[in-house]
């Protein structure tokens, strides 16, 4: 399902994303960045690549909006890009739905406890 939303929402980015995601190393880089930000050097080490090779991969991901980079001093740090984080509103809505579903079930239990308490003559000291 989500892949469909993905396609509808980001059609203009789609060619770039498609190309970016079709490579195993680049998928690995994204999975790594979900866990934590990393420098190009760290990513190169992790995937056993040269710095130049990793720079190329990161550049493809950056053009697709999947990764953002920032240079501080001599270190270029990579993190997930705005495109990847654009789902925040959708995430918060799913989070709300999760709690709403829980709370609807909790409503039922509260009703049940109220009835029980009434039947027990509000004797909850046990």
């Amino acid at each position: 399902m989500r892949i469909l939303n993905y396609m509808v929402q980001y059609q203009s980015h789609f060619d770039a994303s498609f190309a970016a995601l079709s490579d195993a190393t680049r998928r690995g880089v994204l999975e790594q960045l979900v866990r934590s930000d990393a420098s190009i050097t760290q990513l190169a080490d992790r995937f056993g690549m040269t710095l130049t090779g990793m720079k190329k991969h990161v550049s493809v991901l950056e053009q697709a909006g999947l990764v953002a980079t920032r240079k501080v001093g001599r270190v270029r740090t990579c993190r997930l890009g705005a495109r990847t984080l654009a789902d925040e509103a959708a995430w918060i809505e799913r989070y709300r739905q999760l709690w709403a579903e829980r709370f609807n079930a909790l409503d039922t239990i509260v009703e049940e406890l109220k009835r029980q308490e009434k039947a027990d003559g509000r004797d909850t000291g046990e």
């Binding site: 989500r2 892949i3 993905y6 498609f18 995601l21 079709s22 998928r27 994204l30 999975e31 979900v34 866990r35 934590s36 930000d37 997930l80 990847t84 984080l85 789902d87 925040e88 959708a90 995430w91 918060i92 809505e93 799913r94 989070y95 709300r96 999760l98 709690w99 709403a100 579903e101 829980r102 709370f103 609807n104 079930a105 909790l106 409503d107 039922t108 239990i109 509260v110 009703e111 406890l113 109220k114 308490e117 909850t124």
Partner: protein, 168 residues
């Protein structure tokens, strides 16, 4: 995600609000039609928690629920997730349990999990609940958002692979 439906005042059972109130905090509110001691009981009794904590639509099965709802006590929820060989666990520690007003617990299944604070307040026989999920940093909350929205990556990649293969 029909906004008009979500805002329908007739849907009295679902008055749940959610807001990202800061770089590292999410807040949820809800009012329950019952006194606070009963709502609090439903949050701290394992047999009752098991009946509402896992939404039915998730299709996962809660197989274990250990809850020692005392300050310093621990909790552990264990789930069977379809298609995954190992059960998943959510666990942590109660930093504060003050019946029937306040619960604070840690979420320790990840290194930078949130601290959840729930407060209960009774008014006119109803209980107003406010839940705060406070992450250790902006990055931790962003990562939680990203890991969920990208959590289906392996599955998406499989699907993409299929699409790519058929496009060739």
């Amino acid at each position: 995600m029909d906004a008009t439906q979500a805002n329908d005042p007739a849907d009295v059972r679902d008055g749940t609000t959610t807001e990202r109130t800061s770089d590292r905090e999410l807040v949820i509110t809800r009012t329950f039609n019952g006194p606070v001691h009963l709502v609090f009981k439903a949050w701290t009794t394992p047999e009752l928690l098991m009946r509402w904590w896992v939404p039915e639509s998730f299709g996962i099965n809660l197989v274990g629920c250990e809850v020692d709802a005392r300050t310093g006590g621990r909790y552990r929820f264990v789930f069977d997730v379809p298609g995954q060989p190992e059960p998943a666990a959510f666990f942590g520690r109660y930093l504060e349990v003050t019946p029937p007003k306040r619960l604070v617990w840690t979420n320790e299944e990840t290194d930078d999990g949130s601290v959840t604070t729930v407060t209960f307040e009774e008014k006119d026989g109803k209980t107003h609940l406010v839940l705060h999920d406070l992450y250790p940093s902006k990055d931790a909350l962003d990562a939680a958002l990203a890991s969920d929205s990208t959590g289906a990556f392996p599955e998406q990649f499989d699907q993409l692979d299929v699409v790519l293969a058929s496009a060739e």
